[in-house]
Symmetry: C2
Subunit: 199 residues, 2 copies
């Protein structure tokens, strides 16, 4: 094993910090950037540096932002009566892109997972409680996953909401739109059957 | 569609210059770097910038290097009697890692493809001919692919070598090591049968 020069090796090594990128993919990326895409590679280098330097958590909802408040928290036209709880910034993007929700958000940045050292403080529960006490939140919408850890998180969140007299709702669970019963897992099928609605 | 703040969008956009990375993967990469991997993200940004600024083509073999000559061309202990032609820098790495080849390389940085505007000049054939005329090359080893375009390139290279009185060899084609006949494509099977060797 030899092969040229350390800067290339350093780049291949560094690219492996990206999720899902191993040594082969990193090599392909490095060669591709160097051979065909130098201008866009430079754009990437500076966008990455600037994002890492300047993006922080919103003081109010914990989402990523480059200001003290993110654009949603700073938007005075949105209602404070609804507060949607999500696990990560990607979920905010998804909901904003695909629903007409006009309330506020709170981003947990994870889910309760004591074994990984993620407790109530890490997901900002005391900050959330302060918001529930100081804002006119009527409905807490739990837009979080359905894994075991998310279920535990949902349970803790609903207790917290009830202590503060807010209604709690959770995203409907059931048959995916476009899905066929045949391919559904038993748990989802049972949930969908129990939660059947008037047609 | 809204979602926060432009630096994040710029990063997601910039990450899509990587081969095989679409908008979903770019988002996942951006969130992952920002949430869990800021120090390694910074290393990536600076490794990328430095590589793009400093890595150039070796004057002698066209491989990537940060110097005038790459480490292989600069290594006086290697033989100039053999010259191995490859299509890209990744191939040099592969051969160096997996063979005990001790000769020199010449990197085409592509293959002949007139429709894409890649002609003899783009793959450095005149530079290669100068080397064949000025160096004691006895064997030109074609370590290039077996697609139609690579075959055409191989043909042109072999003519060039013969004009300059060098022997031309090409990597053996046949059954992959560890492979079963059952799964072989017909072309490879035919080639392997025709090229059978004494056991």
């Amino acid at each position: 094993m030899s092969a040229p020069d350390s800067l290339l090796d350093q780049l291949v090594e560094a690219l492996q910090c990206l999720p899902g990128v191993g040594v082969k993919t990193a090599q392909r990326m490095a060669f591709n950037l160097l051979e065909r895409n130098r201008p866009r590679g430079r754009v990437l280098a500076s966008a990455l540096k600037e994002a890492l330097d300047k993006i922080r958590h919103c003081d109010h909802c914990r989402n990523f932002t480059e200001n003290e408040l993110c654009s949603i928290c700073a938007d005075t036209s949105r209602s404070s009566n609804q507060l949607c709880i999500v696990e990560g910034p990607a979920d905010v993007r998804l909901l904003e892109a695909n629903t007409d929700y006009q309330g506020r958000y709170f981003v947990l940045m994870g889910r309760l997972s004591p074994l990984d050292g993620i407790g109530p403080e890490e997901i900002g529960l005391s900050q959330l409680e302060t918001r529930l006490q100081s804002e006119p939140v009527e409905e807490l919408i739990l837009a979080i996953g359905t894994t075991v850890e998310s279920d535990v998180t949902a349970h803790v969140l609903s207790e917290l909401a009830q202590r503060n007299h807010a209604k709690v709702t959770r995203l409907a669970r059931g048959v995916p739109v476009g899905g066929e019963l045949e391919y559904l897992d038993p748990g989802t099928l049972m949930t969908a059957f129990e939660g059947r609605t008037q047609y």
